[in-house]
Amino acid sequence: MKIELSIKPREKPFIPIEAESITPASFLEKMTEDITVWSGNREKKLTEIFDVKKSGNADSQKDVEIILNGDCSAVKRVGEYMKDGKISIMGNIGMHCGNFMSGGLIEINGDSDSWLGREMTGGEIICKGNTGDYCGSGYRGEKTGIKGGKITIMKDAGDYLGESMAGGEIIVNGSSGNMPGSEMQKGTITIYKDAVLPCPNMRGGICYVLGEAKEILPTFKQTGSIYNSDHKRELNIYEGDYANRSHKGKLFAGKTNKK
């Protein structure tokens, strides 16, 4: 089954749309007319906000593909609790895309806003543009972030990438903002370019910063260096964070030219 959603021009395009109902499961189980989204504080039919084109049939969520056209940067929570299937987003997407996702694939051709893949446990998210803050993190105040799955960002990520990450993998092909991998417990983060203050208070897991790691915290201990043949770089190895009681984290950071 293929569902093509094109966002209609709206009078007030800044009013956020809460669209946790845009998942393969709801299109499989419900009639399109019964699916609703919230526009601001009003519940509206999906067909009032989007042009919906549906074609083909599906027996399971795996066979469902959802395509979102147009600028969806005010559409939040797309693919929340997604278990299987595919969502392709042609333009930008709003906050909380792929929350609690446990399987399937979300492909974003534009930029994604903050909280991409929050608390996901499986599946894959590929974002071909930039992403905002708290990509692959946990809820505010919660101790565990993502537990599994894979997030790939082709450009840059914002601050607090993979906060309290407890599994899975995050790859950023550009730079990340402040404090990627803070409170990290498990899993792997790879940042191909630069990062600022990486992995504060990390307890476990591995983080690679292949460009320049600006301001490595004094609570990290350098244990040596290694030539990484995969990335063809000389990397310093740090252990930490010694500010935490458990400090089994490993940080591999590109050598910086100190002035």
């Binding site: 809820y139 505010r140 105040g141 009681r245």
Partner: protein, 567 residues
């Protein structure tokens, strides 16, 4: 004028010695009356259990400490979400929920009066602002005096009248209700990174001991003739072997008041630990209960722990630091100038944890081993032991030994060697539960005279009707029905108006704040005392003129209890 008649109610009203009679209750103009006219609104209770509105004598629901708990635990707001309804605001939160969530949930349990357990005098305004929005309960605030410099200096000078004058001035200034002492001396020592070992250790810079602070405050409390006694959170909370300290505190308590207890000890579960370290940690509830049974001048509350997630918050800063080292999670620590301090951390009490399992047993043991239910009240020190929504489960545990045995089978297997709970087969009846949840609490707080906690003529029309029929139910077997029944009242009536029906709150409850104002002669008025005034100029961040809580901050319907003092 409004009139209400509750028919066919199975009433238990311990203060008026009614132990289960089918009768009618008439309420006229907010007060219980002898009779009402025929035009009165009628509620048919259908023989259901009808009790005076519940009174919680120790809970933390309003104030800076609670609010900081909300601040540091945004994840707590993911639970307990409820939408707005007519007369109800949207709510969220579980252990530190929003103000409205607290008031709605208390009213669903049948509670109409609550006492905020600890209000730092300097931060009283915040507490009163939240009281204003606790719209379905009448409120009171315990005021902290554990590390008050002026009090400690007066104790050091052995000047009882000055202690009383400081306490009286502060209570009236901040519109507090009673004297709360949290880890006396310990919070002051915590300012220097230390704690006090037991009640005979000297406090740095003041040269006095916690025992002296407690003794002087007890005597000052009686001198001021306050409705409630001193409300004490003992030293050494949560440390293995602290029962000796608790016993000695109890042993030293004089009997000075024949109307009520002389000392109210709160969350005694946390103070009844034997052993020397966590490895040989065990229950000493038997020793504490033995002492309590011999000391009618003491009343306690259980401080029951229930399994699950919660937030601990207390003015006992050093204790919270120890807990933080145990859990290694978030921690907040706070200092309140010349008065006190506080600490907050989120915790999880687990069935699989031996220490938590023993703690759970100790609370129940205390209640079951105390012979006189008027001396041991039901409370969890909300939210420290558990959020108050767990009260119905505690009631069921006290009423059914079968439920206790079933729960006991689910906790850590080594608990049996360290506690006495399996050997206790006492099962409480509805009368004892009514005592432990409202009558004893009202009596201990000294608010029966103003018409709280009973259904006598002239009392406030606070009534809770639970969907429990005495004849149809065997609490020992049908404990799940007890939990269900006490969780949600059919009607909660406050001041003669139905505020909650099956958990749906119907209106604003015209809540009042009760505070005390001791009448003190000009000679002992601290506003004129040069040394006291100098303290404000020199150390406080606010001036003396701005310190008292103005009437604007108070609920307009407040009740002021003026007391005749010996000053």
């Amino acid at each position: 004028m409004s009139e209400l008649l509750i028919k066919n109610a199975y009433v238990i009203d311990p203060i008026n010695d009614i132990k289960g009679e089918i009768m009618d209750i008439a309420i006229k103009d907010r007060m219980i009356a002898d009779s009402v006219s025929d035009s009165a609104e009628v509620i048919d209770a259908k023989g259901c259990l009808t009790l005076p509105g519940g009174v919680d004598s120790h809970t933390h629901i309003c104030g800076t400490k609670v609010n900081f708990g909300r601040y540091m635990s945004p994840e707590d707001m993911r639970a307990g979400r409820g939408r707005a309804q007519p007369h109800m605001y949207p709510v969220s939160g579980y252990s530190v929920p929003t103000v409205y969530a607290n008031t709605y949930r208390y009213s669903a349990l049948g509670y109409t009066t609550v006492l905020e357990g600890a209000m730092a005098p300097l931060e009283a305004r915040h507490t009163h602002e939240e009281f204003f929005c606790t719209s379905l309960q009448d409120t009171m605030a315990n005021t902290l005096f554990d590390g008050n410099w002026s009090v400690m200096e007066a104790v050091s000078d052995k000047d009882l009248k000055r202690v009383a004058a400081v306490v009286g001035w502060t209570l009236a200034a901040v519109k507090g209700f009673a004297v709360k002492v949290t880890n006396p001396g310990g919070t002051e020592m915590w300012g220097w990174g230390k704690d006090v070992g037991c009640i005979h250790q000297k406090i740095d810079h003041f040269g006095i001991t916690p025992a002296e602070i407690i003794e002087y405050l007890i005597r000052a409390n009686e001198l001021l003739n306050l409705p409630h006694s001193v409300h004490l959170h003992c030293n050494n909370l949560g440390k293995p072997g602290n029962y000796k300290c608790t016993l000695e505190t109890m042993q030293r308590t004089p009997n000075l008041n024949d109307k009520r207890q002389t000392l109210y000890m709160t969350h005694v579960q946390f103070h009844s630990y034997g052993g020397t370290k966590w490895g040989d940690f065990c229950s000493k509830a038997d020793d504490i209960a033995w002492m309590l049974n011999r000391k009618p001048q003491i009343a306690i509350d259980m401080g029951q722990v229930m399994f699950g997630k919660t937030t601990t918050m207390t003015a006992d800063g050093p204790m919270e630091f120890n807990l933080y080292r145990l859990y290694n999670n978030k921690w907040s620590n706070h200092d309140v100038e010349l008065e006190t301090g506080s600490g907050i951390i989120p915790v999880f009490y687990s069935r699989k944890n031996l220490v938590n399992s023993v703690m759970w047993s100790i609370g129940l043991e205390l209640a079951l081993m105390t012979k006189n239910p008027w001396q041991c009240m039901l409370a969890t020190d909300n939210p420290n032991g558990a959020p108050f929504v767990k009260y119905p489960e505690i009631i069921a545990l006290l009423m059914s030994s079968r439920y206790r045995d079933e729960e006991f089978a689910k906790i850590h297997p080594d608990t049996g060697k360290r506690v006495h709970l399996p050997s206790l087969d006492r099962e409480m009846d509805f009368y004892e539960i009514a005592v432990m949840t409202r009558a004893a609490q009202a009596k201990a707080l000294g608010i029966t005279d103003i018409g709280k906690g009973h259904l006598g003529e002239g009392a406030y029309g606070d009534v809770a009707i639970y969907p429990i029929k005495n004849n149809d139910i065997d609490p020992s077997r049908d404990y799940s029905k007890i939990i269900e029944g006490f969780s949600l009242t059919d009607y909660t009536i406050k001041s003669g108006r139905v505020i909650s029906r099956h958990g749906n709150c119907l209106l604003n409850g015209n809540n009042r704040t009760i505070w005390v104002k001791p009448k003190i002669s000009e000679e002992y008025n601290m506003s004129n005392d040069p040394e006291f005034v100098k303290k404000f100029e020199r150390y406080y961040s606010v001036s003396m003129e701005n310190y008292p809580v103005e009437e604007e901050y108070m609920n307009k319907r407040n009740i002021c209890i003026e007391t005749e003092t010996g000053l």
